[in-house]
């Protein structure tokens, strides 16, 4: 919506600027194109003045200067001098249809309009009135009369005219802008929806119909691809779930009978030991199937989360206690450094415990000669993220291998096969962190040891 208002504002500003520029341009054109002849020299008044000034009296006769005579010829004009009695005292190129005597009313008439259809102009002379006539239809003479009040109000009227023009320009531009915005708005919302991967169905009529059509097509393609992706993810996840299911039943039998043989007093020691091996390997397979299923559900976003407010330190203690209750060998020591008791996150307790357990088990598995394991919980400095880190002082991992530890085993990004266990432990932790909108950070400082830190968005207390 913000974008639409911006478009409208730009549009109106542009329209106003355009009309101001057009106005200026018109003024300039008025001067250069329309009223160009106004400035042509000499004007009729100039001619008559020149004639009056050059008309001199020598003895009893009047004589016109050569230059003024040429001027008259060039304009194909004629001239005469009227005396005080209304008679023509002198004439130059005087046509025949012009009277030779005039009364006061005649003078008053032709001084304002025409003399026998000749446009005439007059100038005062020492001996009377100089009249210059131009060819018929060469000039138009108009009489303007204005009320003095009206003349005084002209500037204000002009200002009002300008303001009204500006108002109309503004109104028109707003109306047109709104129309434009109205036709663009569905497109904009459509594109926004497209970005959120929501289905879009726009009206393809109107000015921007072809754009709307393209947006519709893009949306349809996107929906189709998403549906196909989802179907494929579901198929994969279901496939793994199905295989897990099919493995579980025969594995039940293997585990069941192996453990029966292991406990059977009739069997010799050696056979019972071997049955024990079958049982333990069966249990390994069981944990693999369980982990595989969970990782696949997490990978394809199909694992339901039971979210509640969880205190990370409480989880850390529980995980450590579980580890110790499970009979941790004396070569390993667990230490807790729980800085902030109120490190709250929104999480699935069971999954998070599983993740911490995996990290602890990972440290144990990779350091058969023993190590010290520290569990740390802390809030980030800006208190927006909660972290739980499992730190050991064991053998560590070469830096270049750290990144691929969170990839699934046998994934194309993972070059080395997992060293210990089935290699699903850390990928599972990374996916559990991701399902909680967090992440898993691995670090192996040069001094050895591995630090695995899970970082989650903090839940406001």
């Amino acid at each position: 919506m913000d974008g639409m208002i911006r478009i409208l504002r730009r549009y109106v500003a542009g329209a106003i600027l355009l009309s101001v520029l057009l106005l200026l341009f018109n003024f300039i054109l008025l001067g250069t194109l329309v009223f160009k002849e106004f400035r042509r020299q000499p004007s009729p008044e100039g001619v008559v003045r020149e004639v009056a000034e050059r008309l001199t009296r020598e003895g009893g006769r009047y004589a016109l200067g050569d230059e003024a005579a040429r001027l008259l010829r060039r304009h194909r004009a004629w001239a005469m001098l009227l005396g005080e009695d209304g008679g023509v005292k002198w004439g130059e190129r005087l046509p025949d249809d012009v009277p030779r005597t005039y009364r006061l009313t005649d003078v008053a008439k032709f001084s304002r309009y025409y003399l026998a259809e000749y446009p005439v102009y007059i100038w005062e002379h020492a001996d009377g009135l100089v009249v210059v006539g131009f060819p018929k239809n060469s000039y138009g003479k108009y009489q303007f009369n204005w009320d003095a009040d009206w003349v005084r109000s002209v500037p204000w009227r002009l200002l009002a005219l300008l303001l009204l023009n500006a108002a109309v320009a503004l109104l028109l531009s707003v109306l047109m802008g709104l129309r434009l915005v109205r036709s663009i708005r569905p497109l904009v919302t459509g594109v926004h929806k497209l970005a959120r991967e929501e289905p879009v169905r726009l009206d393809t009529r109107g000015l921007l119909g072809d754009v709307a059509g393209s947006i519709n097509t893009a949306s349809a393609i996107l929906q189709e691809k998403n549906a196909a992706l989802k179907a494929r993810d579901e198929a994969r996840s279901n496939w793994i779930a199905g295989i897990s299911h099919d493995i579980r039943t025969p594995l039940s039998m293997i585990l069941g009978y192996a453990s029966e043989l292991e406990e059977s007093p009739e069997l010799p020691e050696e056979q019972r030991r071997q049955a024990g091996i079958i049982r333990r390997q069966g249990e390994k397979l069981r944990s693999l199937v369980r982990d595989l299923n969970l990782v696949s559900m997490l990978e394809y976003d199909m694992q339901p989360l039971h979210l509640e407010r969880v205190r990370l330190p409480s989880l850390a203690r529980q995980a450590a206690a579980d580890m110790l209750n499970g009979g941790l060998d004396e070569r390993y020591a667990i230490e807790l450094r729980l800085a902030d008791e109120e490190a709250l996150i929104n999480g699935d307790k069971k999954l998070l415990l599983r993740a911490i357990g995996n990290l602890l088990q990972n440290s144990v598995n990779h350091n058969p000669e023993g190590c010290r394991i520290a569990i740390e919980t802390y809030l980030s400095e800006d208190r927006t993220r909660c972290c739980l880190a499992v730190r050991d002082d064991g053998r560590g991992v070469p830096r270049e291998q750290l990144a691929e530890l969170t990839e699934l085993p046998y994934a194309s990004k993972r070059k080395k096969p997992p060293r210990n266990g089935h290699g699903l432990g850390l990928p599972m932790v990374a996916r559990i962190a991701k399902a909680h909108h967090g992440r898993l950070l691995l670090d192996s400082p040069d001094g050895g040891g591995l630090t695995a830190a899970m970082e989650f968005p903090a839940e406001g207390a």
């Binding site: 579980r248 585990l255 069941g256 299923n293 205190r311 330190p313 206690a321 807790l336 109120e342």
Partner: protein, 237 residues
Amino acid sequence: MDNVKDRKILIVDDEPEIRAMVERFLRREGFYRIHTAGDCASALSLCRSVRPDMAILDVMLPDGDVFSLLSAIRQFSDMPVLLLTARGEDEDRLLGLGLGADDYMVKPFLPRELVLRLTAILKRVYSSPAEKRLAAFRLGDVLVDLDSAVVRGPRGEQALTAKEHALLAKLHQERNRIVTSDALCQAVWGDDSYGYKNTLMVHIRRIREKIEPDPSNPVHLLTVRGLGYKLLVKETG
């Protein structure tokens, strides 16, 4: 019928080999009144005819899932039910449907685990009121009787307060295992907020004064630094 081994057990699973294996384990443990079924229909008719005391049901059956079977059974029987599943289903989905399944196990399982769960359920549901009494256990020369909430020892009989009783019950339930202070607070105050930590320490000290020969050097109720507490109980069988 005081012995759980005399109870009638119904096993429903579509895999005949699983049925045979579970039946075999139960027989070895001393159960002898065992009935088996491979689908919902025969399971339901067996339930009506032999009236089993407990059922072990596989979640997926060829003629429908276990939930419709269970609601049909619930029309006429309240017997306890242990579910078996071969999918990694959600615990909440399995137990939270209001159908009254008592417990569930994910395949593959060890026979010992199955028998333990089964007998635990049978004991809880069918034992006489006398057997339902809370445990009494011995710590050195002190006898803790949770049922009457007293401690009897060389220092005479001392009563346990409600909180001390709840703490000891939780610690005894998880005996010989570390119980985190959070879990203890949850058990006693219904809240695992860390604010109870000091109160918890006070209660633990009072319990030690009642059960330990030397409360400052405990030998039964141990502190596991930074984690919680552990009650050492010698199993007397």
